[in-house]
């Protein structure tokens, strides 16, 4: 788009031969204008390889949610480009963007993920129903069973606990076998035991099914479930850590805070 960072882009890195699920290229996001202008992303370039579990961390207001939203086609960048499976999102109109969200992307919000009038199974199959696609019942059943809700498929969301509702959200995000799943603090509202269950499940999805997941979190323990942690500050990626542990993440945060 119009504005882009002057740093040379590096799309062809050593990982060029591996498949990329998604990619940001000098992503810039500016909210408001004039006096109230906020630079939420200041030229973020990042690759998300297929089958990789990435955590994004950073202080409040650093632009984590903004990055996720723009990557997932929920919002548009002010500059640079976001790609899902090689498709440049800025070239798409609203309808095409909607179809990308429906078929290529899964999204887990912190809360309020479910449609109250639909039961659990219907919530999980909602994206496929919207597409009018034939539903792979066996796969849907498997996903629902894996998240441990096989006996609750006919229940409405308000009959489920918060943790159970988040599990349904995860199941829905995975059910379409999307290129990539984004989660914005998916376990942010949950106690540590419940979040551990959900994170285990996400991890399994990555390891065994080759699912790509990107998740925002504030919690070093949560981040340690991932393969790689990106640290964001003031709209820029400031550090990257492979194979994180809670302690190493905690240390990095402390160092960055100084």
């Amino acid at each position: 788009m119009s504005s882009s960072s002057d740093a040379p882009s590096t799309p062809t890195s050593s990982t060029a031969t591996e498949t990329l699920a998604a990619r940001a290229d000098h992503a810039v996001k500016i909210y408001g204008s004039g006096d109230t202008e906020v630079h939420a992303l200041r030229g973020v370039s990042v690759d998300f390889k297929a089958g990789e579990f990435t955590a994004i961390m950073g202080p409040s207001g650093s632009g984590k949610s903004t990055l996720m939203h723009c990557m997932a086609g929920l919002d548009r960048l002010s500059g640079g480009e976001a790609y899902i499976g090689g498709v440049a999102l800025s070239t798409l109109n609203d309808k095409q963007l909607t179809l990308i969200r429906r078929e290529k992307v899964g999204f887990i919000f912190q809360s309020f993920n479910l449609v109250p009038t639909l039961n659990i199974r219907e919530n999980v199959t909602l994206p496929m129903d919207l597409g009018g696609n034939k539903i792979d019942d066996a796969w849907v059943d498997e996903v629902i069973t894996t998240v441990g809700l096989a006996d609750r498929v006919k229940h409405r969301p308000n009959e489920l606990s918060g943790g159970q509702q988040q599990r349904v959200a995860v199941a829905r995000a995975l059910a379409t076998r999307p290129d990539i799943v984004f989660g914005d603090e998916p376990t942010g509202n949950l106690d540590s035991k419940t979040s551990a269950e959900i994170l285990d499940f996400m991890r399994t999805a990555v390891k065994e099914l080759g699912q790509t997941i990107v998740m925002v979190t504030h919690d070093p323990v949560t981040a340690s479930y991932s393969d790689r942690v990106l640290f964001l500050a003031d709209g820029q990626i400031v550090q990257e850590m492979i194979d994180p542990t809670p302690d190493s993440v905690y240390d990095t945060i402390r160092n960055l805070g100084d």
Binding site: H69, L74, D75, D94, K95, T98, L99, R101, R102, E103, F107, F109, F112, N113, L114, V115, P116, T117, L118, E122, L126, P127, D129, L130, G131, G132, N158, R172
Partner: protein, 846 residues
């Protein structure tokens, strides 16, 4: 507190504007009814005043106790000479006036008549300002001259000085020179046509030699009005009276006034119905608004606001809305009055022109009604708001619904008396049709409220059922539409109720109309056996009985029977009886003889079975009858009949008897039969040679007559339905309102749906189908209720008027479709709004 109210209003401006619209519509209709009636009254008052402004006194025959004529009684013009001799009298002129006697003939050879209003023939009443007429151009008519009103002159393309051919009641048409163009008073003729001649010419052409029906008098300036009246009165015979000019104006205004009152009250009736519908919308909006603000209200309570303060806050909001709506509605009434004028004018009637009037009374009533309706509708939601507990601030989830059991009981308490009243109106032993219909009206209102309350109980399942085909057809969007329509049954019920009432009334009118038509079909088959019908179409005016004799004289006709309405004193009571050519028996009109013979003689009378029953009369009994000329005779009951659909009175006598005792020998309907095997078109041609001399008359064969009546009935249905469409418009805004509020309430959900891949189009579809399900629910309820009401009304109305119940199935289907279409259109803006929501904003919407 006031700050909160102000915030409450500004924060919810969009929704409140929609509420405003529903109040405004109802109020505007009330205002429009007043404005139209007041404007008409003022126009007619002005016309009456202008017409008699220059007159000090009027002399006329004393209205007899019984009088069958439609015009003033005529008297010998010698009275005029006597009055002119009086020293107190400056000027006196005799007048003569008649309906439908002479007509101007256009270039095409056809007589010129207005659509609807009558044609008057009158003598020129003297110089201005004594005359009721004002010369716009030219001079007063003298000798072989005529003056015409401007409307007629324009239609015929006549100009002063032209020779106008005029059709006369007797003899060949004659040519008159157009001496002038006139106006009645100053205010126009209300669409009627006038042909004015000097007095002798008028007397000659309408065959009224030597008689007049009124004298206008101006006194000498120095004489007081009282003295003038006294001195005239002194010289008048017993049966002639003198009244002041002001009395005449007053009488005129009263007679117009009572007509306008009826008209205005009918309009007000419709306005009340529209207001009633609005009430549901206003209630619903406030209920939703309070529901949506439950959290905020809970917060207010938890920081110390009392329940009373909350209640007052909500009521204050409604007061402000009510006030604004009333003021807007007041002026909206001008628009409604204008629209109503158009609606009625479309039926061929012309409305007199005049400025629209907003009287102080209108302002007071309209503002009061608008305020009352709004505040009363907001009362329940306000009470509910005041009961919100502080805990509600932290609890998630919507408002607590009142228990279904409470609804069941409350709904039943309202519905039961409603149904009982309906039954009472239908089957109760009430004699007066008006009371029966009154019971049905109140019963209907209660039933509407009861059904509305109870419908919340089944709105959920019914909406779900209605939505099932939508779901099958539209997949998950249909599913969402269906679920949303059934997820808040109270809201669905209240929204549907508004539509239900409108469609119920329209359906009821449809059933009544269909039943009336069906009754008429039966009637034509059984009762009207004539081949030809002759009558005056526009006003149902009487015409000379000469027509009967002339038709009878034709070789082509077999039986000819005329029917007249005659006022008599029957056993000392003023009674209208039908005078009929009973020599034709029941061959021309069959009025269902159950006992005796249809060939009533001049010494006999026939009586309707119910009237005979009421009075304990039987064949062979006698009743005493006195005619308007004072002749008294005893008549023997020779027949009892049971069908008063054509013979609209309870008594029937031989027309030969009445003809000798009425001032004007007239009939208002003639039936003709042809001998077996006669070609009806040929016979008709022959009959038209007779009626050709009476341009006001219409000749119709059996099927034309039937179409004519059907056309009139349908016209009535169109006008009534046109007025009831207001209800549908209010209901429409109700649906827009509810949908808009629901969409707003579900903003987060909509954001979520969009996030997981619902397209804008799919979202619009879902909202649209939700509205359709709600509106079809309302339509079905409405059509069902309409069937019930229509049936109730048909049963309550005497059989002599409507005897068969018929259901216009085709129309009912159309009404349900219209309901669905209303849903589609109503959903347009809310759906568009929902689709335009920004996904992220929607998701983070609190």
């Amino acid at each position: 507190m006031l700050k909160l109210v102000r915030r409450g209003i500004t924060a919810n401006l969009g929704r409140l504007v929609l509420t405003l619209i529903s109040v405004v519509l109802g109020v505007a209709f009330v205002s429009g009814s007043f404005v139209l009636a007041d404007s008409l009254r003022s126009v007619f008052n002005q016309i009456s005043e202008d017409a008699f402004a220059g007159v000090d006194a009027q002399v006329r025959a004393v209205e007899p106790e019984i009088n069958s004529g439609e015009t003033l009684l005529r008297f010998d013009q010698s009275v005029l000479e006597g009055i002119r001799q009086l020293p107190e009298v400056e000027y006196a002129e005799g007048g003569l006036f008649a309906f439908e006697q002479t007509y101007s003939i256009g270039d095409d050879g056809e007589v010129i008549r207005p659509q609807g209003p009558p044609v008057f023939t009158s003598s020129w009443g003297g110089p201005s300002p004594v005359s009721s007429f004002t010369l716009l151009e030219g001079t007063a008519p003298q000798g072989q001259q005529v003056a015409l009103d401007s409307g007629q002159a324009t239609t015929g393309g006549f100009e002063v000085g032209d020779l106008v051919t005029i059709s006369l009641p007797i003899g060949e048409p004659e040519q008159f020179e157009l001496s002038g163009i006139i106006d009645f008073g100053q205010g126009g003729t209300g669409g009627a046509y006038f042909l004015l001649y000097d007095l002798p010419t008028t007397q000659r052409i309408i065959d009224a030699a030597g008689v007049i029906d009124s004298i206008v008098v101006n006194g000498v300036d120095s004489v007081a009005e009282r003295d003038l009246l006294a001195s005239i009165d002194n010289m008048l015979p017993e049966d002639i009276e003198v009244v002041s000019g002001d009395t005449v104006i007053g009488e005129q205004q009263d007679s117009f006034g009572s007509f306008i009152d009826i008209f205005g009250n009918i309009l007000l009736g419709f306005a009340v119905v529209v207001l009633f519908v609005s009430t549901f919308i206003i209630y619903n909006t406030f209920a939703i608004l309070v529901g949506q603000r439950t959290r905020q209200l809970g917060l207010l309570r938890s920081i110390g606001a009392s329940g009373t303060q909350i209640r007052i806050m909500v009521l204050l909001e409604s007061v402000i809305i009510g006030l604004i709506a009333s003021v807007v509605g007041l002026f909206g009434g001008l628009g409604v009055a204008w629209l109503l004028k158009k609606l009625f004018s479309s039926g061929g009637n012309s409305f007199p022109e005049g400025p629209l009037q907003i009287l102080p009374r209108t302002i007071v009533v309209v503002v009061f009604v608008g305020l009352f309706v709004t505040v009363a509708s907001a009362l329940l939601p306000a009470i509910r708001a005041s009961r919100v507990s502080p805990l509600e601030a932290v609890r998630d989830g919507g408002q607590k619904e009142r228990s279904m059991r409470f609804r069941l009981i409350a709904g039943g308490v309202v519905l039961l008396p409603g149904l009982l009243l309906l039954a009472l109106g239908m089957f109760g032993s009430i004699d007066s049709t008006a009371s029966r219909l009154g019971a049905i009206g109140i019963g209907a209102a209660l039933t509407f409220i009861g059904v509305s309350m109870l419908s919340a109980l089944f709105a959920g399942p019914v909406a779900a059922t209605l939505g099932t085909p939508v779901q099958l057809f539209k997949g998950v969007t249909g599913r969402l539409a269906r679920d949303n329509a059934s997820r808040n049954p109270q809201r669905t019920a209240a929204t549907a109720t508004a539509l239900m009432i409108g469609l119920a009334l329209i359906t009821g009118v449809g059933v009544l109309t269909a039943s009336l038509l069906a009754t008429f079909d039966d009637l034509l088959e059984d009762a009207l056996t004539a081949d030809l019908f002759v009558y005056e179409e526009n006003q149902g005016l009487s015409f000379s009985a000469v027509v009967v004799d002339q038709l009878r004289a034709l070789p082509e006709t077999d039986l000819v029977a005329g029917s007249a309405d005659v006022e008599v004193l029957l056993n000392d009571e003023v009674t209208n009886v039908v005078a009929f050519d009973t020599d034709t028996g029941t061959d021309v009109v069959n009025y269902g003889i159950v006992e005796g013979s249809a060939n009533i003689t001049e010494g006999g009378i026939a009586v309707l079975d119910t009237a005979a029953g009421d009075r304990g009369l039987a064949l062979g009994d006698t009743v005493s009858v006195q005619f308007e000329d004072g002749f008294v005779t005893d008549l023997e009951i020779q027949a009892i009949y049971d069908d008063n659909t054509v013979v609209e009175r309870s008594w029937l006598i031989n027309r030969r008897l009445s003809a000798q005792h009425v001032q004007l020998d007239q009939v208002d309907f003639v039936g003709v039969t042809f001998p077996e095997g006669t070609d009806v078109p040929a016979g008709r041609l022959a009959a038209e040679t007779v009626t050709g001399n009476f341009p006001q008359l219409t000749v119709q064969d059996n099927s034309e007559f039937q179409e004519e009546v059907q056309g009139q009935v349908s016209q009535l249905q169109i006008v009534t339905t046109g007025l009831l469409v207001m209800c549908l418009i209010v209901a429409f805004f109700g649906i827009v309102n509810t949908m808009a509020l629901s969409v707003l309430e579900r903003t987060r959900e909509i954001g979520l749906l969009r996030a997981v891949g619902m397209t804008r189009r799919q979202l619009r579809t879902a909202v649209r189908w939700e509205a359709v399900i709600v509106s079809v629910f309302g339509s079905l309820l409405g059509v069902g209720m309409g069937l019930l009401l229509g049936w109730a009304a048909v049963v309550a109305i005497p059989d002599s008027f409507i005897s068969t119940t018929a259901v216009p199935w085709g129309q009912l289907v159309i009404y349900v479709v219209i309901g669905a279409v209303i849903g589609v259109i109503a959903a347009y803006f809310p759906a568009r709004r929902a689709a335009r929501l920004n996904v992220l904003d929607a998701i983070s919407h609190a």
